[in-house]
Symmetry: C2
Subunit: 341 residues, 2 copies
DNA sequence: TTTATTTGCGCAATCGTTGTCGGGAACGTT
DNA sequence: AACGTTCCCGACAACGATTGCGCAAATAAA
């Protein structure tokens, strides 16, 4: 509460605040003896510089903000761990915010963190965000900004993502190689970067196996309550019926699994299931779920590194552009099936 | 970047900063016409008061800090959602930090958030924390502090927790009622509040069914990598062998499930399994897992409310004391078994 | 007309810290 | 004795916002 300030030290030692300040930072123009006195007293009184005052003065905070749609998601919490690891090493604090998949919350949160003078911002866009003008503004002002995972090509910032195309291609190819031909793709809103990339991988994999693309097998699923079940029902009703589900997120993968089990659709006998998700329990599910795993920690680390580069060398030499990190397919029970001869 | 300040407005309108400040806060001693001018100009220039400057001046920030061991844990992320809901309603920002189950990180994080002038702190202690003097200090200075979930009775702050005793009692009772007699309890470090409460519930349930307590069936498990498997092995080797596992956290529940499956111990035929966890996938596991669910959102909400009370009426009338919220037992496949006649 | 009162606004201090400037004392140099 | 250096240190302003005080002009009351 009543923290010790430089002023207190100055008063106690009969010095000016400037001298104390300089002594504490070891300036050469202060008598070594005086320095010692000040240092010792400061130590004894447990003096800590007031970061608020510093932020005000220097217009920086040595803190970076992270805005994710939600933290209750393994991909994001792992990414945050990656971010923290790098940031703390480089002397930055990390402040975590959730947009709760809401565009308004995202805008407000961005403004807040900027006015609280974070030195830079790491963002994964909310699913409602299609207009990125709130970020465009920041970027135009030269504010350090890095997007990860859910990015936007309307922004000329560094973008760190998993190789969604490749991941989706491999997942689809795996389903095709095990004889599936009617592969449903349950995915997230169409304007999101990851949706498009994954959809492209899915389509190209189909094409390379000469399987026609069927619009009816692709469903875009919002983030409401209990929206997955009905979608799965719709898909099951398509003719010819799907023989595999490829889903694009934790939530969809779990929702789909729950829905299929409830409807007693046998996995993998009747349909295969594979999710694009970092669930840590994929192994323990019933059946254990095949997944495409994103390198979440690595993405977080890289994003943090890029951001700190941006912050520290304020040159325009901003290394924008997209960094793609390979995703990894892990096959488990939910898609294991002898390839047809 | 170059944010508009009150000074800019003053200059542009040929007024003093005091007048602008007062006009913006609608002070009665400013000419309505002047007010209008200022308001409109501020609006047009998108003026936002600088929170850093305000924090410095008023020694408060309208922000509360939340420190949890880790966010990749459903209980904590739900609790955070509860906290955010209340805080935003009351005009506070929420800043989330992770201690990563490390005492040092916890101490550092507490210091940081305090020196960054959060108005109060919500903490769930790290598993390494047995010494709470870093918090005691704060509390003695009158700093608003509320503990939740993992608390300490060495601190005279409000404490919001699930009824761990009752939850553990019911879980154990359920196992007893389904004929289990050798119930292993795999739990977290012994100095933690929740460990003790749950252990007490477990013991009392045994006692009330006249089942002797066997020290050998209780194991305290650290937070390292791959520590659960060996513990499970040890427990399986005890004679007479356990016929049920009652675990005390997400991590232990999953670890235990994985270990038992790997060793091909039939659940629930050979052993029952029940976890004290808020896993959202308990339903989808193989087998689906019986759990004791903590009212995480509610705990977060209550904790936030208590904290804001503390902050706003700085009276000593601090409503310390413990609030216990009932936990709920959900029985699923992992413990379903006909009661023996 | 003189004296109160109200109205509207500016000055300056404050929060904690740093940076710029400048100045006194002690010393060395001619 | 007069001057230039060096060494230490203090005064002051600044960052953005709020606020107590005071002051001038306008209005009301005497």
């Amino acid at each position: 509460m009543e923290a010790v300030t430089i002023k207190d030290i100055a008063r106690a030692l009969n010095l000016s605040t400037s001298t104390v300040s300089r002594a504490l930072r070891g300036s050469y123009e202060i008598n070594p003896e005086t320095k010692r006195l000040v240092m010792e007293y400061a130590e004894r009184m447990n003096y800590r510089p007031n970061p608020i005052a510093l932020s005000l003065k220097e217009n920086r905070s040595r803190a970076i903000g992270v805005i994710v749609p939600q933290i209750a998601n393994h991909f994001f919490s792992q990414a945050i761990n990656g971010i923290e690891a790098i940031a703390y090493n480089r002397g930055y604090h990390v402040i975590i915010f959730q947009s709760h998949e809401s565009y308004e919350r995202e805008v407000v949160t961005v403004q807040q963190s900027v006015s609280r003078k974070v030195d830079g911002l790491l963002i994964s866009l909310s699913s409602q965000t299609s207009d990125v003008s709130h970020l465009k503004e920041l970027q135009d002002k030269g504010f350090p900004l890095v997007l990860f995972d859910r990015v936007s090509d309307q922004l000329d910032t560094p973008r760190i993502i998993a190789d969604n195309y490749q991941g989706a291609f491999e997942a689809t190819e795996h389903l095709l190689q095990t004889g599936r031909r009617r592969i449903a793709h349950l995915t997230i809103p169409p304007w999101m970067s990851i949706t498009q990339e994954r959809l492209a991988g899915y389509k190209d994999a189909l094409a390379s196996y000469d399987v026609p693309f069927d619009e009816d097998l692709v469903r875009y699923c919002g983030f409401g309550e209990d929206v997955v079940g009905p979608m799965v029902d719709e898909l099951l009703a398509v003719t010819p019926a799907p023989d595999a589900f490829f889903t694009a997120s934790d939530r969809l993968a779990l929702g789909c699994l729950a829905a299929l089990r409830k409807r007693q659709v046998a996995i993998p006998e009747t349909v295969s299931l594979i999710g694009f998700t970092n669930l840590n329990v994929a192994d323990l599910l019933s059946p254990s779920m095949s997944t495409v795993i994103q390198p979440a920690v690595e993405i977080g680390q890289l994003a943090a590194e890029r951001l700190i580069e941006l912050i520290e060398r304020k040159q325009k030499a901003a290394p924008a552009g997209t960094v793609k990190i390979p995703a990894r397919l892990v096959v488990r029970e939910s898609s294991i099936r002898e390839p047809p001869e």
